[in-house]
Symmetry: C2
Subunit: 232 residues, 2 copies
Amino acid sequence: SIIRILEERKEPIRDLAGKRVLVTAGPTQETIDPVRFFTNHSSGKMGYALAEAAARRGADVTLVSGPTQLTAPRSVKRVDIASAQDMLDQVLARYEEQDIVIKAAAVADYRPVQTFDSKMKKKDGNLSIELERTTDILQTLGQRKQHQYLVGFAAETDNAIEYGKGKLERKRLDAICVNTVGKADSGFQSDTNEVIYLNKEGKEQHLPTETKKQIAHRILDEILEDMEADRK
Amino acid sequence: SIIRILEERKEPIRDLAGKRVLVTAGPTQETIDPVRFFTNHSSGKMGYALAEAAARRGADVTLVSGPTQLTAPRSVKRVDIASAQDMLDQVLARYEEQDIVIKAAAVADYRPVQTFDSKMKKKDGNLSIELERTTDILQTLGQRKQHQYLVGFAAETDNAIEYGKGKLERKRLDAICVNTVGKADSGFQSDTNEVIYLNKEGKEQHLPTETKKQIAHRILDEILEDMEADRK
């Protein structure tokens, strides 16, 4: 049929065949007690779109995912985690064998210092919860980087591009995808996204607002182009 | 067909026809900044099961629901909320006209004192978040109770029945459904539940472990029986 022919023409070339790609996606949950936790509004859509796009282009894809309502394609190896520490452990265990690592997850920066085994009883008056920094996964990956092409994301409400450039350098990334939307949360749950791709050579590529699936392919195009250039 | 006949036989009698029932369900989300929030592991399944069961039995049902992945039957009026304060406002606005109010939601007891319009920047070292008590919805409903039959839930990890009796009295409820599971979180996401129904006359009715749909009908049976007894 016509539709089938169009579908076939849309089938991407397998330009990631032979490459191992690890993508992180979704939020993390930081436990306060058996009932309560901290989390964030990440839907996981951008990470899942990247994992699916990379798999369609022939990559061997691992998706390390926080709790989401999304389904990964069967060809993707999905590893489910809850906390930032879980995510760090699962990513590090698979880091060495990867060619490309894309950190699209919204990992908690802070977790409660104390976690309670029983539900906290409420009391009169205010309550102060002491939080400590989680280990910065992207920074850890930057420090331990060997052959991997390492890509981060920056979702900031203010001065997103400037912030993205600083993060790229500070964390020894190869590239960073910056959400330029005015409010960080509009990038989080939506099906579309507006991304600027910055690389360590100073490239600043504006990717037009498209669906997250289309943006995913555009990001992979940029990564492949950069990896080609690195080899020269 | 045989299946159709069995389905028809399973159709419950419309013993809630003419009654207005309001059910609250799901978690609430308490905003820290545009990205981060506090929440809890409530799936909303118990509340949705109660709303559906009451609607099937002929009640005019309103479901005030926190963010869940569930779908309410079309015959149920669904009101979506995010925070504990939203839930309080929406329930109070509809309280007077209700015959039965069942609070199955897991409402946050605490919310951040300060909410940030921009994403909080992370800093070195620990961070302390100051939380304040939210308004106790069930207690407010108990204080303002006129003709309504008011039912709460108690999901506690320790001494659940004793705690439930205290809560029933303290909040001027007509009845309370106590989850007797050892850990509160096993009652939260699961499809089954174990509930003890306590009423203000001292009834202590153990409802055997069944699906949440079946438990919902058992709870409605108890409520109707109590309301009948109250009228005598």
